[in-house]
Symmetry: C2
Subunit: 453 residues, 2 copies
């Protein structure tokens, strides 16, 4: 498995909120280094999502293994005026030594379900909060958006074109990976191809056409340099004329044994444009040349084009995917559930959580479709049901090598096949029933009696 190079920004535990460090100062001063248990979950999935796809675990484990403060970082903290030497000494030694339980990447999940549990000395478990949420949120959003695109078009070619509109460098990388595991065919992002070993794909830009004095010459030049990867952009000046030129070029270079794989349309009403282009190519005797469409594509547009039977063979999906445009954040949280052997919970208005270490069980119907999930205490006896949280890191060491992207992709496809119709619906809200076990409900009452301020 190719893994990311060591990286000053992405591996830095300094990429955190100041309050994590001021709280650490107090934990150290009070000797509060007992075992803490935190869980990461999504409080409420966005309105226009019926499920989420768990993703981002691999990058999180990588971060937990690499995270260490540099001397420069420690010097900054020492000079900041917020801290005493005991904290700086602690941070200089810091390596994450905790245990992680998690849902496998690619698992379908829902509101209020723990995706991840961290068990570690309180200061460590606290320190990693900010980056943990920062690293997990985007992959979950993008994998979910990509899975929705895949549900809309099971048989079309889907390619991530979204790097330029992703929010910065890491977002572009994380999004490319998340889209691929959720069923995309590849990405235009070259660094993602290199780092994650996933297929890279591309066409040409309008500027390439414009830099030539004549469009047909641009096509010919590109064909000469990219004979095995020939997708031509035809809408720079006039889409139909562009299509006719491509057909003529196909005749011309076909004689040399070369083949034009597809044309790309990047503007106008994609359905109408595609029909006209398909007709031109077919009448010119080139049914083998495919049509790729881009420009403001998302799962809603794909679904409507597919339903209309529009002759588009593949989609380049950019902004809507990498920014998760219609749901650009998750109401997600990482909350303390136990400290020093006692379950705890937050009771803030609208933000209460279930206390203690938990396990999530999944129940299927006879045809293998999702029926309901059940949230339980970790140690209660449960008959049947599939336990979704598994240990993946112990005492700071990974228990398994990274999963291959191919394996995660297969899991996503299996999981999507388990969705009943109301959860596959892209346009109407739906959700899976989450039961809460009697033991867990009792524990919440006990916890409120014990604490509660």
């Amino acid at each position: 498995m190719p893994t990311a190079e060591r990286d000053a920004l992405c591996d830095s535990p300094q990429l955190t909120d100041l309050y994590q460090l001021t709280m650490l100062q107090s934990y150290l001063d009070q000797g509060m280094q007992g075992e803490a248990v935190f869980e990461f979950f999504v409080r409420k999935i966005p309105e226009n999502r019926n499920f989420l796809i768990a993703a981002g675990l691999e990058q999180l484990l990588d971060f937990l293994q690499r995270a260490a403060f540099s001397e420069q970082e420690l010097n900054y903290l020492a000079r900041s005026g917020f801290f005493k030497p005991n904290l700086i000494d602690y941070l200089a030694q810091f390596r994450f030594s905790g245990t992680v339980h998690a849902m496998a990447e690619g698992t379908v999940c829902f509101s209020n379900e723990p995706l991840l549990r961290i068990t570690a000395p309180l200061p460590e478990a606290q320190l990693i909060e900010t980056r943990l949420i920062n690293l997990m949120q985007l992959p979950i959003m993008v994998a979910t958006k990509a899975a929705r695109c895949r549900l809309a078009a099971p048989d079309k070619r889907l390619v991530d074109f979204g790097l330029r509109r992703a929010h910065g460098a890491e977002a572009g990388l994380l999004a490319a990976r998340a889209a691929y595991i959720a069923g995309f065919d590849g990405t235009s992002n070259v660094l993602a191809g290199q780092r994650y070993g996933m297929p890279i794909m591309g066409t040409m830009a309008h500027s390439f056409i414009q830099a030539h004095d004549v469009e047909a010459e641009a096509f010919r030049h590109f064909a000469a340099s990219q004979p095995d990867n020939l997708v031509l952009l035809i809408d720079t000046y006039d889409t139909e004329r562009g299509a006719r030129r491509v057909a003529r070029l196909a005749d011309e270079i076909g004689a040399q044994g070369l083949e034009i794989k597809a044309v790309r349309i990047d503007s106008g009403e994609l359905g109408d444009e595609a029909r006209k282009v398909r007709e031109i190519l077919d009448q010119a005797g080139h049914p083998e040349i495919g049509i790729l469409a881009s420009s403001s594509v998302d799962e809603y547009l794909i679904q409507s084009l597919v339903k209309r039977g529009v002759p588009i063979d593949g989609y380049g999906i950019g902004t809507s995917l990498t920014t998760s445009e219609d749901a650009p954040f998750l109401n997600c949280a990482y909350k303390l559930q136990e400290y020093a052997g006692l379950p705890r919970r937050k009771r803030s208005s609208g933000k209460a959580t279930w206390p203690g270490r938990k396990q999530l069980y999944r129940y299927l119907d006879d045809s293998g479709l999702l029926r309901y999930d059940r949230l339980c205490t970790e140690d209660e006896t449960v008959s049947a049901g599939i336990a979704l949280l598994e240990p993946v890191m112990q005492n700071g060491r990974r228990l398994n090598p990274p999963e291959s992207l191919a394996d995660i992709r297969q899991r996503v496809q299996r999981e999507l096949n388990m969705l009943p119709a109301h959860l596959r619906d892209l346009e109407h809200p739906g959700s899976l029933l989450l039961q809460v076990s009697d033991d867990l409900q009792r524990l919440a009452l006990e916890t409120d009696r014990r604490f509660g301020g």
Copy 2:
């Protein structure tokens, strides 16, 4: 000026779309290395924005100076099957040698206005497209969102709490900087504080309270460790009870000369909660303790709370800021405007551009408010008007040292003061008139006659 450490991810020109490199292959094969001019602009600013704040230039110039392919990256490309040795050799030598004209960071700008012009050999100008857009988009969005928050609350303390919900590591950094230049007081993001030399701020989390058996003890511990930075979170169990506890603690530690700066409320209806808390603190004789509010805060909420006269002294603004939640992307583009001495333009349906090298002039009314902008060819004679594009890099070398954040902050405040009422309105659409000079209109017609496919 502190500058970012060298960074394998953020400095990599491999973070690009595959098509940039396949086009480069063809440019090299055809000897197309003439001078190209590209401009970066926002086609149409989002519906719920009346202006944008130019931002991100510093990071872009930094990238242009550092960008170089590593051996590992070149090896990957050589093995990818897309390229010939002449391209790999070219990339091995690649350093950006072009010229950049740009609007100063912090300038107010509008639809269809060039924020940036790149003049460079075609392959270089093309190669940088993807990362240029990726680096510029987010800072513009976040600076704009932050400026709107500042307009809503000119006198309140505004702090960026958004790292955890930002889209990855770099987004968190870029957002913290963009919010600060647009008028925020600081960030919770420690690495942003270190890298950019900006103020870091923080409070405490619910987990800190929960990790203690008794809330009052948590407050006392934090006071002991953070005597100079004492902001206490009071809504973990019961906000009003929390406020009364803080008042008692203030009496207790006041005797030792310590001071509680503020309480934080992070749930419930913030206006009502703040009024109740203010009353409790005042009645207990502690009008000096401020109130900081967080939880789903954005400019709309701030404006309504400020209008209601709610006693909140500062806001922690997270998700809505760093994801630019209600406008999470910009319809922005980087387009070829000239190649080999000839102006060019794209004419795709709904995406046409003005050709050639351009300058943007700004006109104010007698009271110093924005009146209109005028888009001209670079070399036409213009009387009056402020030219907004200035040279900032020549032949790959920066012409000036980085601007200080303080200077950019001041510019933003001056620019916001130049907004007429309809552009300051947060809830109703508005825009500045953009005139297009006769020369530029003629040039567009000529260009269409010359090219046009």
